[in-house]
């Protein structure tokens, strides 16, 4: 009877043309993300977190010490593997069942089915998959269950599975090898006859075993591909000498100016000092960092185009630069602004802060939420801390306003060091280490997380909950003067339903940051103050935090309100990738690899770093197997001449000149010779002379020991199958650049925060990036790439460096061997496995 019902359900459902309902698709994505975090997070962590996985492998090592157990395992595994194709899911499920944890066993099955469904779903919507195998994708989308329905079915399977285990005696929390029979029975009762299971299995077999799908054998992201958007790319800002010098002057002023009424400089003010100086919210705008003191204040001017001599202004005419566009978006916001930013400081950060203050001052219902990495500051602590304290004082003091800023909870992230660091150095050890005087001194001066954890995202989202008016800016731009100001960056602006999905991906980052803020040990007052003021002194903390987050809570988790119907407003597809806070998604690397493997004609890489072995491996495959042309443009890490003491050397005319012979340096050159041998040219970005001259002038003017403004090639981008090399001269055509291969490929460009180095790609940093399948943004990216390739870059062999004296001591006499040695030392540690006796 049950079987008949399931079959009927399937038939009824399929007639409803499941896959095409765009509107449902948006909410499906949101639901799916939430399911992963709320219902399945602990199971997912058991499968992927190294400490969790380590416990499971220990259990199995103990288990298989008895050889008769191994035979039970093998026999049961034979039954399971016909329906669960993922080995790690089978192993976890079996453990749970044998130890009496039937609900968890059922949930493991559920997570497997959701993942399988998501994988199929993502493949159907992947423009590259469609370009390679249109017929196969058409077959795949036939009778595909929409998530909402699949979800119901999966819940049913889970219940059935848990019940069957219970009936077979899996009731107590103890080990019993005979429960292997219960697992087999539960498969017979609930899994083997299920139409969804069988259909997913069939599709997975087809997808992987016949059509040679190039994507990952797991869902790269639970948000997949989102259609119906508009995209604009922002990759320019004013960099005329006067704008650069102006920025340098402003930064110098920030670092040197005396705070009013206190015998301290601004940079030395504490949060309490700032509070003292802000009698009213308005005072934060008008009495600190004032125009009278020489500070530029964008909030005082209505029109961003007034700042033509500033990096915060237009590039030319009415065309705004990257910062100006984002500031303009904030001004136009109606409900909320959300910012997750790695670095926010200096005069740029101060101006952004004031624009945000102004929003909450002018509109009592307006909400601003800023989360930021507050631990990784390197040499920029002064300019970052000053702005953080300024904003934090405002947020703590004016709890009647909806303004929040708090550090991200980065300790929930996994390490970006080799995995064994997470096994070696436990949380307690980190705490002990942080108390160590030597370590403390080091962290205070240079500031970085001991286990290389960070929130490296650079995201701004305005009105993310609005059905059509939201805008999300995802890119590589930091909001600070050094490593921000005149850096070469790329930011993609998205309008449309994807905005809400991007915003929702940060919900738990904010939630965890707010929870962390209430930790009495950390002395946080902001969230506590706001809860007391808004909900009363006795209000429960967690429930109140969720209420505070309502303006950015797309799923209305607290209010239970009906989900918003997001409408398509354009035809661009967006695929989001992230290394999220819980590590339930670490998809930056997979998105890049999938794009590289899915390229049909050309790959352009422009990134600050490129030395992740997996990415390199994928590039090699693309070049050798798919015959794709590849061009690599990276930051030249040591392009400035230095003397023996490490000071920069200026030439006779007083300019710090770039030296092409310095080329690409370690670590960016680690793979360059190998890429070159495959016919993949690599170039290092060469800053325009006027920019270098202005940076040098700024350095001399303010007597800095090293330049504070860098014009770093700071992009973290990639594009595939866009404007071909042969068509690059069409970039200047009035009609726009030609996409000569667009009919048989899927042009796409990546914008975001994730560098292509091994630490980032390991997933340890909180990153966010988006791929835009959109001709206009791809053309914007590619045309600038070609312009830089032709005019602002220098070819590199990767060997333009002097062997260090240590190489000689190690018996290494040639550069290639030296690079190989470094590679072995660096990458071998990332190839890590753990076993037990």
């Amino acid at each position: 009877m049950k079987k008949l019902f399931l079959t009927l359900l399937t038939v009824v459902h399929f007639s409803a043309d499941a896959a095409s309902s765009t509107q449902h698709h948006y909410n499906d994505i949101l639901l799916r993300q939430e399911d992963l975090h709320r219902s399945y997070r602990s199971i997912y962590e058991r499968l992927t977190d190294i400490n969790n996985f380590e416990s499971l492998t220990s259990w199995y090592r103990l288990f298989t010490k008895d050889k008769s157990n191994t035979r039970y395992y093998q026999a049961t595994n034979t039954i399971m593997q016909s329906k669960i194709l993922g080995k790690s899911y089978r192993q976890l499920l079996y453990y749970y069942a044998l130890t009496g944890q039937r609900q968890q066993a059922a949930q493991t099955l559920g997570l497997y089915l959701i993942s399988a469904h998501t994988l199929i779903d993502n493949t159907i919507l992947d423009p590259q998959a469609q370009a390679w195998n249109p017929n196969a994708i058409a077959d795949l989308s036939k009778k595909h269950w929409p998530y909402a329905l699949a979800r119901k079915q999966i819940k049913g399977i889970e219940q059935c599975f848990a019940l069957s285990l219970q009936r077979s005696g899996v009731t107590t929390r103890s080990f019993d090898i005979k429960r292997s029979f219960a697992v087999v029975q539960a498969f017979k009762d609930c899994v083997n006859p299920d139409p969804l299971v069988n259909q997913l299995n069939e599709k997975l077999q087809t997808l992987f075993m016949e059509h040679k799908y190039h994507g990952a054998p797991f869902p790269v992201s639970f948000s997949g591909f989102v259609g119906g958007n508009k995209v604009t790319l922002h990759n320019l800002l004013p960099d005329k000498p006067r704008a650069i010098l102006d920025l340098g002057d402003q930064l110098h002023l920030m670092l040197s100016a005396q705070a009013p009424g206190l015998e301290k400089k601004y940079k030395d003010l504490t949060i309490e000092d700032f509070k003292l100086l802000m009698d009213t919210p308005e005072a934060a705008l008008t009495e600190l960092f004032t125009t009278a003191e020489g500070f530029r204040n964008t909030h005082e001017s209505k029109n961003m185009s007034h700042f033509s001599d500033s990096v915060l202004g237009p590039i030319g005419g009415d065309i705004l630069g990257t910062y100006a566009t984002m500031l303009q978006a904030i001004r136009e916001a109606e409900e909320s602004v959300f910012v997750d930013i790695f670095w926010m400081g200096g005069s740029i950060g101060m101006n952004l802060a004031k624009e945000l203050f102004k929003k909450v001052i002018e509109d009592p219902d307006f909400t601003v939420i800023v989360i930021t990495d507050n631990e990784n500051k390197f040499q920029y602590g002064h300019q970052l801390d000053m702005v953080y304290r300024y904003m934090r004082a405002f947020a703590e003091k004016f709890s009647n306003k909806n303004f929040y800023i708090t550090p991200t909870q980065i300790n929930l992230k996994r390490t970006a060091l080799p995995e064994f660091a997470d096994l070696l150095i436990t949380k307690n050890v980190v705490e002990d280490l942080s108390a160590n005087n030597n370590v403390k001194t080091l962290l205070e001066s240079d500031g970085f997380h001991l286990l290389a954890k960070s929130d490296h995202s650079k995201v701004l989202i305005v009105d993310g909950k609005q059905p059509t008016g939201g805008r999300a800016f995802v890119g590589s731009k930091n909001w600070t003067d050094s490593s921000g100001g005149v850096n070469r960056d790329q930011v993609a602006e998205v309008q449309g339903p994807a905005t809400a999905i991007i915003l929702d991906s940060f919900y738990y980052d904010v939630y965890e940051a707010f929870v962390l803020d209430t930790d009495p040990l950390l002395g946080g007052e902001m969230v506590k103050n706001h809860i007391s003021r808004k909900f009363g002194d006795d209000a429960p903390t967690i429930a109140s935090i969720k209420k505070l987050l309502t303006p950015i809570d797309v799923l209305n988790r607290t209010t239970g309100a009906v989900l918003i119907d997001y409408e398509p407003i354009g035809d661009s597809v967006i695929a989001m990738a992230q290394n999220n806070i819980y590590g339930t998604e670490m998809s930056a690397i997979e998105q890049n690899i999938q794009l590289i493997l899915g390229a049909k004609h050309q790959i352009l890489i422009d990134d600050q770093f490129l030395y992740d072995p997996q990415i390199i491996d994928a590039l090699k495959f693309a070049k050798e197997q798919n015959k794709v042309d590849i061009y690599v443009l990276v930051e030249s890490l040591l392009g400035y001449p230095k003397d023996e003491s490490g000071s920069y050397l200026f030439d006779a005319s007083g300019v710090l000149r770039y030296q092409p012979e310095m080329g690409v340096q370690v670590p960016n050159n680690l793979f360059v010779p190998e890429l070159a041998s495959l016919g993949i040219p690599t170039k290092a970005y060469h800053r325009p002379d006027h920019v270098v001259a202005a940076i040098s002038e700024d350095q001399r003017r303010h007597q800095q020991s090293h330049p504070l403004l860098g014009a770093t090639f700071h992009l973290k981008s990639l594009s595939v199958d866009g404007v071909m090399r042969a068509d690059s001269d069409t970039c200047n055509d009035i009609t726009g650049a030609i996409f000569s291969e667009k009919d048989n490929s899927a042009p796409a460009a990546v914008s975001g925060s994730a560098n292509k180095d091994i630490m980032t790609m390991s997933g340890g940093f909180r990153e966010s990036q988006i791929t835009t399948y959109d001709f206009s943004s791809v053309a914007d990216h590619d045309c600038l790439f070609w312009q830089r390739w032709d005019h602002h870059s220098m070819a590199s062999t990767g060997l333009e460096f002097e062997l260090p004296k240590q190489a000689d001591q190690m018996g290494i006499t040639d550069k290639q061997t030296f690079l190989n040695t470094i590679r072995q030392i660096v990458f071998s540690t990332y190839n890590f496995t753990k076993e037990h006796f």
Binding site: T99, L424, P804, K834, F837
Partner: protein
Amino acid sequence: MRYHMIFPFLFVTFWFSSVYGSYPISEYELMVVEALPEGLNLSMSLKDIEETKLKSRVQQNKNLASQLIADRLSALLSGESFQNGYNLLELAQAFPFQDILTELIAAQTEESFQHVDKESQFLAFILPKVPTAKTQDAVLPFKRFYSLQKAPVVDNSQWGFRPEQSYSELINERVLQAIQFSYENNYVQLNRNEPFFVGLLVQINFAGPESTINVQLLGGLPTDTEFDFDQKEKEAHFKKIRMPRRPKLKWLSQQYSSHPGVIITASYQQSASQPLTLNIKFGSLGLVKGENWDLTRSPFENPLLEIDGITINSYMARYNTPHLWGEILAPLGIGALDWWLAREYNIKMNIHEVSLDLATLKISDIRVLTEFERKPEFLSWSVLRLPTIEQQAVNDQFVAAANKQLEPYQKQVENIKTSLETQGLVYTLLKPEVQKQFLTLLNQALGTEVGGTP
């Protein structure tokens, strides 16, 4: 018989020129093997298992190590040299491994670990990683590009964790595949006949004052190579130093155990009379057994087959060892057989094992097995194969001769000792220049000028 010995160590001097170039880059991996903590049981939740591990002795040692490392590292990072240049190589050189190890061992008192496991063993392997291209799955050709730690929904491969496989099976399988791959892809360049790096094992056993550290380096020997050598003794005229041959049959040549190999083991035990010893073993590449790497087909000792101090080791075995090769000159004292041996056989002296005390650079033991090899012109299907024999007196002669040769070089060993004192055993042994220095020293001590046909 007195042998002026050129030890077949000279191969090792090639070693380090090839170690850093022959195997594809980034294709090594670190594998750590730990004892399961006591107190685990199969009913435990994963969280309980994690907590039990946190209380284990291994974890306590890790915590201590982390603290010591962080303390020293932060001092170095704050130091002037690093602040000026961010020189990571300098940092690595200045890192006080010896202090850290000494402190770790000093902390291994029974009192400090009353509530946890009494012993804790920890193995760290550096293994050749089978290149990702090799792991390509015919069914899922693109899977190799993606991490396997993100719970693939399609994954029926033999890669990754397999409960039914023990750690040693896993390592042996991995090494076997890597070696085969190396040969198939000429990473081990057969035409150049170079030695090659297979793996490194660091074994730490914390057991109070009996704590030990062993470092094993497993390498493949060059094959089909010989060096000219001229040494005339009363009984034999040695003309060559020969490396073992590789089987010519393809199926055999791709077998792991067909490859000649060497294991260099350095052992450190503070409480022992010889705290630091080195052992070099030649044979066929072998497998991990227990907690050590071993070579296969090592000669065995059987007292039942001993006659007048001569042990008949084997009638059949042919050992994959370097050897001195020469012609028999004088009667060996076995009567009527003398003329026949001298006419139809050549002599091979297989070097199997050398042990020495590193602190004094004194050789404590050498095992040499004598083998009689039928001259080609007398080869036939029905040829009589003679036993391989081991004679303690010959071993002793080798030891005495080697030690005599070593005497002038005692001073040179000071460099290594200083390095050990300042930088610790593991680091010292991992430093190529120290290895090179050490091996050059051995070659100088044990050899004369050689010509060769590598």
